[in-house]
């Protein structure tokens, strides 16, 4: 049995169930816990904490700590931070890890300040190097990597970019201790009152959560023509993204914009359709594992970053591709 301080994962509960990024958070957490010979524990806050505890254990958590009852929603970042900080005081972990979702973006920095901890944000790789933790993340619009060297004996709040880590396969049988942590005083409200929410983007996954993204640029010419990409994305079970040019032209909504002033994504497969590859766009997607580019211009910059290139008219090629994928799936 290890005596090292535990590594604490805080997966997000959304609508009472573990967020889809949780398996990847456990993938990253398990690797780091093994490298540091530290026990891996998890904290679940809010509705569903108790019912989801066995799932967290199946993913590799030893002890699962739960905090439920009169806890704020994660939209109340200040109150949520107080709740997390109180649990961290009780658990005394060396490293606190979250998946880099919108909730973590708002909570992790607050938690780092409150705990006097170092923050390593949106990490794409995490490694142990002697007495240090070496983390890397993209910066300067995806044109460089920033490597941060954190002393291993310091307390660290770390968020990981889920797409950069392998998902952990849940064990079929796992049990372990579940401990309830009381909600601290003053964590109930911070003056931020939720007033409802609405899904956007229909049934397709959001670009930040998708494993496969089909993105289009100005060459699509109209909002209606994006239907072609939606068909392809649906065949692949993926999301639809857009370049800034397509969003500025009103063809696609802001939440689909990928790039420097949009979202940064790193899916398993990225299909750039009718996108030339301006720095603005490359910044948001060049971390993707495999990139396919479809463009009529062989000298388009996107091909310098693509794994596979098709110099074709998208209006001819995309329907063929959708058909071929459906055919391959049927086979």
């Amino acid at each position: 049995m290890s005596t090292a301080a535990p590594l604490l994962l805080i997966p997000e509960l959304r609508d009472g169930v573990l967020h889809p990024t949780t398996a990847r958070l456990f993938g990253a957490g398990t690797a780091l816990a093994e490298a540091r010979s530290a026990p891996l524990v998890a904290l679940l806050i809010g509705d569903g904490a108790e019912t989801q505890a066995p799932r967290a254990q199946a993913l590799g958590a030893g002890t699962v700590y739960t905090m439920s009852g009169d806890v704020p929603g994660p939209g109340s970042a200040q109150a949520w931070t107080r709740a997390c900080a109180s649990a961290v005081d009780a658990i005394a972990p060396s490293v606190v890890m979250m998946a880099a979702t919108a909730v973590a973006r708002d909570v992790a920095p607050r938690l780092a300040v409150r705990l006097g901890a170092s923050l390593a944000d949106a990490c794409q790789s995490v490694a142990v190097d002697g007495g240090h933790l070496l983390v890397r993340r993209s910066a300067y619009g995806g044109r460089a990597l920033v490597e941060q060297r954190l002393p291993a004996d310091a307390r660290i709040v770390l968020t990981i970019r889920p797409a950069s880590f392998e998902a952990r396969t849940p064990a079929t049988h796992a049990t372990g201790p579940v401990e309830a942590i009381p909600v601290p005083d003053g964590a109930a409200s911070d003056g931020v009152e939720p007033r409802g929410s609405e899904r956007v983007g229909g049934e397709r996954p959001d670009v930040t959560e998708a494993e496969i993204i089909v993105a289009g640029g100005r060459s699509l010419k109209s909002a209606e023509n994006f239907r072609l990409l939606e068909d392809l994305a649906d065949a692949l079970g993926g999301a639809v993204g857009a370049s800034r040019a397509a969003v500025d032209a009103g063809m696609q909504p802001h939440e689909r914009q990928i790039g420097l002033t949009g979202k940064t994504v790193a899916p398993r497969l990225y299909l750039a359709v009718g996108i030339d590859g301006a720095i603005q766009h490359l910044a948001g997607m060049r971390g993707s594992r495999v990139i396919v580019a479809v463009n009529t211009r062989r000298d388009a910059p996107i091909f310098e970053h693509a794994t596979y290139g098709c110099v074709h008219d998208l209006f001819e090629l995309v329907p063929c591709l959708t058909r071929e994928i459906r055919r391959a799936q049927g086979a």
Partner: protein
């Protein structure tokens, strides 16, 4: 909160290398080579500034919009830009480069001078810094100032500001969430909230003569050392040629068998 009904607004701004221009990395890992680099205002800070100015244009009682930059002489220009966009007062807090490169250290260092400037009702920040791609500054500053915050705001309705509340909508993965927030509060501003306009020439000229108030920054903790590294090279693109049907078939085969992503 302010005693009268009008709001005092704070907008932290920041200069960043122009993201449309190429950068050369220093071989020592110290970041982009500043020689020949063109600096602009961070576009997310511009959105925050434009949102502040729009509140006044909408007829909300706005007592003062203060723009704050951390840094040195090189950061004066971004404050002049903020003044031209409609800020009433520009403040420069002296910060070294190491602190500037770390979102949390920067927030800790700026919290002291902000407290020294009197109470603000609303702090508007960009949702992230476009150069470091870090989104920690706004939330970290909110924690330092002991303010609640809402991140990634895409809609701001201040019609009830007189009663001390704002209605905001923020964007998270796949959803829009609505909140009512009590002032004072910090919001981080996302693209889509407001489209910043270029300031008119007379304002740009006037902003050149406006005073820049210098303050000293507070103590901060030493940020963890960082190195800025070039990206590992990608293998060259494999072009697939032929009729559309053949290309589609070959691409799907390669994605399944070679790249194993399908």
């Amino acid at each position: 909160m302010n005693t009268d009904a009008s709001m005092r607004l704070l907008v932290p701004v920041r200069r960043v290398p122009d993201s449309r221009a190429p950068i050369t990395l220093r071989p020592d890992g110290g970041g982009p080579d500043p020689a020949g680099l063109r600096f602009v205002c961070d576009p997310f800070a511009e959105i925050a500034l434009a949102a502040a100015v729009r509140l006044r244009e909408e007829g909300q009682a706005v007592a003062e919009i203060v723009a704050l930059a951390g840094g040195g002489d090189g950061d004066v220009e971004v404050l002049r830009h903020a003044l031209a966009m409609g800020a009433d007062r520009a403040v420069l807090a002296a910060l070294d480069e190491g602190t500037m490169a770390d979102d949390v250290s920067m927030a800790v260092a700026l919290a002291d001078p902000i407290r020294g400037m009197g109470a603000f009702d609303l702090v508007l920040c960009g949702v992230r810094h476009i150069d470091t791609d870090g989104g920690a500054f706004g939330p970290a500053l909110a924690e330092c100032l002991d303010l609640p915050h809402v991140g990634g705001v895409v809609r701001l309705d201040a019609t009830a500001a007189g009663q001390g509340v704002l209605h905001v909508t923020r964007r998270v993965e796949g959803a829009l969430e609505r909140f009512t927030v009590r002032l004072p509060v910090l919001l981080t501003c996302e693209r889509g909230l407001v489209e910043p306009k270029s300031p008119p020439l007379p304002r740009i000229m006037k902003a050149k003569r406006d005073p820049i108030h210098a303050v000293s920054a507070g103590a901060s903790r030493a940020p963890a050392p960082i190195r800025v590294l070039p990206l590992p090279p990608r293998p060259a693109c494999t072009f697939l040629d032929g009729a559309p049907d053949d290309v589609a078939r070959e691409l799907v085969r390669r994605l399944r068998e070679e790249a194993r992503v399908l």
